[in-house]
C-alpha cells in the first residue's frame, strides 16, 4: 500500500517525534513545575527562554543547534568526547530539533494543568500521611493527566510537522533525517514528483488527524473519570 520511500519517511517521522516527546516530557514537567510553583530570581528570563522557539523562525533555532551541538560546537564536542554521541546529521539530532521546537507547547499545557490543581487537595494528602513526592505522584499528577495528555499530543503533532530547524540542523538524508515534511519538500523539488508528494500529503493529514482523535477520546475518558 505504501511505497518504500513513504514507509521510510513515516517510520522516521514517528521515531523522531516519539523520542522528541518522550525525551522532553520529564524536563517539560520539571520546567512547568518550576514556573507554576516556585519563585526564583531570573524566572522571567527562564520563562522567556523556554518560549523563545515559539516565536523564533525555526531556521534560527536549527542554526543555533548546529552551532552549539555540532561536532565543533561547545556542547556537541563534549557530547562526542564523553559519550561518543553525534547529533548533527543523525535522526537523534532531528529528535532534539523537534523537541526544542515543540517544548514551549508542552510546558505551557502542563503548566496550565498544574496551576489548575487545587492546593487544598495536596494539603489534605499531606495531612493523610503522604510526603511531598508521594503527594505529587498520587494526587497532583493524576489531576494533571488531561493537561499532560493534551500537551503531549500537541508537542507530538508539532514534532511531526517540524521542518525548518530539522533541515538546518541535520539536513536531508534519506533513511536518517528525511522525515515526512522533508521528504515532501524533496519531492516538490524534482520534476514529476507531484503525485508522490500528494500521497505524502495525504499520509500527513491522516496521521495528524489520528493523533488528534486519539487525544480527544483519551481526554474524554480522563474527564469522565474525574466527574464520576
Amino acid at each position: 500500500m505504501l511505497t518504500d520511500l513513504e514507509t521510510e519517511a513515516l517510520r522516521l517521522s514517528l521515531l523522531v517525534s516519539g523520542w522528541a516527546v518522550a525525551g522532553s516530557l520529564p524536563l517539560g514537567l520539571a520546567c512547568a513545575w518550576l514556573l507554576a510553583r516556585r519563585d526564583f530570581p531570573g524566572k522571567m528570563l527562564f520563562d522567556g527562554l523556554i518560549h523563545l522557539p515559539l516565536v523564533l523562525p525555526p531556521v534560527v533555532v536549527g542554526y543555533g543547534l548546529l552551532v552549539t551541538l555540532g561536532r565543533r560546537g561547545p556542547v556537541g564536542a563534549l557530547l562526542y568526547d564523553w559519550f561518543g554521541v553525534t547529533l548533527v546529521f543523525t535522526w537523534k539530532g532531528a529528535a532534539v530539533a523537534s523537541a526544542v521546537i515543540a517544548f514551549p507547547l508542552l510546558v505551557r499545557a502542563i503548566r496550565l494543568s498544574l496551576e489548575g490543581v487545587d492546593r487544598g487537595l495536596e494539603q489534605a494528602a499531606r495531612t493523610l500521611g503522604c510526603g511531598p513526592v508521594r503527594t505529587f505522584v498520587t494526587v497532583t499528577l493524576p489531576l494533571m493527566a488531561p493537561g499532560i495528555l493534551g500537551g503531549t499530543i500537541l508537542a507530538f503533532a508539532r514534532s511531526l510537522s517540524e521542518f525548518g530547524a530539522t533541515i538546518t540542523f541535520v539536513s536531508n538524508i534519506p533513511g536518517e533525517t528525511r522525515t515526512l515534511p522533508i521528504a515532501l519538500y524533496s519531492l516538490t523539488q524534482v520534476p514529476g514528483g507531484d503525485a508522490a508528494a500528494a500521497r505524502l500529503c495525504a499520509i500527513s493529514v491522516a496521521l495528524a488527524f489520528a493523533a488528534m482523535l486519539a487525544s480527544e477520546l483519551l481526554a474524554r475518558r480522563l474527564q469522565a473519570r474525574l466527574k464520576g
Binding site: A124, T127, C130, P142, R225, G228
Partner: protein, 364 residues
C-alpha cells in the same frame, strides 16, 4: 492530649495562643478573623509558628527552640477542612483508604466498617466524589480523616459551607465520634449551636488570643465574656441531671444547681447528665410570687445585673441558687417594675431545650 504555646505574626495580625486540651471535644469559638483557623493550620503543620511548641499525645510536633518541625505527613493528625477536599480521581472507598494505607497495620485502631456504619456511607463506597451531595462529601471527608487513625482530629468549621438541613444531618454524626472512637477533637466554629451540641471544653478566641478556656457551661455563665459568646446565642446553659419522669403527664424533671426544671418527656434514663439551654427570650420575670399560672418552671432568684441592648430591650441576669439565667424584657417593663440589681424576683421559664443529651465525663 494537646498542649500548645505558639506565636505567629501574619502582617499586622498576631496569633499568640497558650492552650491545653484534654480528651473529648474542645471547641475553638470566635468570630472570623480571630485566629481559629490559623491555629488549626499550625497544629496540622500547614503553617509554621514563629515561636513556641506543640505537643500532641506526648509527642513533640513543633519546638522552635529545639528546631523540631515535623512535616504534616509525620504528625498523624486527622484534619477535616471546611470544604471536603475529596480526591476527585478516586472512588469514595479509595478516598477513605487513602490515609489508612500509610498507617502501620498494628496502629489501625479504627475499623473501616465501624466508621462506614456510623457515618452512614455504605451505599456511597463505589461512587466518585463528584456525584455526592455536600453533606455526603463532608461525611466521607470525616471518615477519611478518622481512618488514618489520628491522635487527634482537627475540624476546621466542617459545617460552615453547608446549608441548615445538611448541618442538622451532620451534627449527630460528629457528636458520636469523640466517644465512639475515643479520639480527642479540636473543633473550630463560629456557631454557638454547634459548640453547645458538641463541646466539652470551650476556648474563646479573640484577636489572635485564647481569652478564656473552660467547661462550656462555666464560660457561658460568665457575664464579662458575653461580648465574645454572643448576646442572643448565650442565653443560659445549665448542667442538669435527669431526676425523674412523669409519664402520665409526659414530662421529665431535670435537677440543676438552682432547683428543678420541668421539661417535655425525654427518652433518657434517670441520672443522665444533660446540657440544657434556656433562651433569654423564653424567660419572663415576676416581682411578686405568681399565683395560679400555667408556667411550671418558676424559679426564685436575685437580679445580678441589667444590660440595656438595642431596640429598648434589657437583658437581666438572675441568679437562681448556684445557676445563672438570662431574661430578656422590654425597657418599659424594667422601668415600670423598677427592676434593679439585688432585687428578689421570680424567673418564669417558658421553654427548656436539651442542647446535648449525654455530657461525657461531667457530673450533673
Amino acid at each position: 492530649m494537646l498542649e500548645l504555646s505558639i506565636r505567629r505574626r501574619q502582617g499586622d495580625f498576631q496569633v499568640a495562643v497558650d492552650l491545653a486540651a484534654g480528651p473529648g471535644v474542645t471547641a475553638l469559638f470566635g468570630r472570623s478573623g480571630s485566629g481559629k483557623s490559623s491555629l488549626i493550620a499550625m497544629v496540622a503543620g500547614l503553617a509554621r509558628p514563629d515561636q513556641g511548641r506543640i505537643v500532641v499525645a506526648g509527642r513533640v510536633l513543633f519546638d522552635a527552640q529545639a528546631r523540631i518541625d515535623l512535616p504534616p505527613e509525620a504528625r498523624r493528625l486527622g484534619v477535616v477542612f471546611q470544604d471536603p477536599r475529596l480526591f476527585p480521581h478516586l472512588s469514595v472507598r479509595a478516598n477513605l483508604e487513602f490515609g489508612r494505607k500509610r498507617v502501620p497495620a498494628a496502629e489501625r485502631t479504627i475499623a473501616v466498617d465501624a466508621v462506614v456504619e456510623v457515618l452512614g456511607i455504605a451505599h456511597l463506597l463505589d461512587r466518585r466524589p463528584a456525584l455526592l451531595s455536600g453533606g455526603e462529601k463532608q461525611r466521607v471527608a470525616i471518615g477519611r480523616a478518622l481512618l488514618a487513625c489520628p491522635r487527634i482530629l482537627l475540624m476546621d468549621e466542617p459545617l460552615a459551607a453547608l446549608d441548615a438541613p445538611r448541618k442538622a444531618e451532620l451534627l449527630p454524626f460528629i457528636a458520636t465520634l469523640a466517644r465512639r472512637f475515643a479520639i480527642p477533637i479540636l473543633y473550630v466554629s463560629h456557631a454557638m449551636d454547634e459548640v453547645l451540641r458538641l463541646a466539652d471544653t470551650l476556648v474563646l478566641m479573640d484577636d489572635g488570643r485564647a481569652v478564656a478556656v473552660g467547661p462550656v457551661e462555666d464560660l457561658l455563665a460568665r457575664p464579662h465574656l458575653r461580648p465574645l459568646t454572643g448576646r442572643y446565642d448565650a442565653g443560659a446553659v445549665l448542667d442538669c441531671t435527669v431526676s425523674g419522669h412523669d409519664d402520665s403527664h409526659g414530662v421529665s424533671r431535670l435537677a440543676f444547681a438552682g432547683g428543678t426544671l420541668i421539661a417535655g418527656r425525654i427518652a433518657l434514663p434517670v441520672g443522665t447528665a444533660v446540657r440544657v439551654r434556656i433562651h433569654a427570650r423564653d424567660v419572663a420575670l415576676a416581682v411578686d410570687p405568681p399565683g395560679r399560672i400555667s408556667v411550671r418552671n418558676v424559679l426564685p432568684g436575685v437580679i445580678r445585673s441589667l444590660e440595656t441592648g438595642e431596640g429598648h430591650v434589657v437583658d437581666v441576669m438572675v441568679e437562681c441558687g448556684g445557676a445563672l439565667l438570662w431574661a430578656q424584657i422590654t425597657a418599659l417593663a424594667q422601668a415600670q417594675l423598677g427592676l434593679k440589681p439585688g432585687m428578689r424576683v421570680h424567673a418564669l421559664v417558658k421553654a427548656v431545650t436539651i442542647a446535648r443529651s449525654d455530657v461525657a465525663g461531667r457530673e450533673g
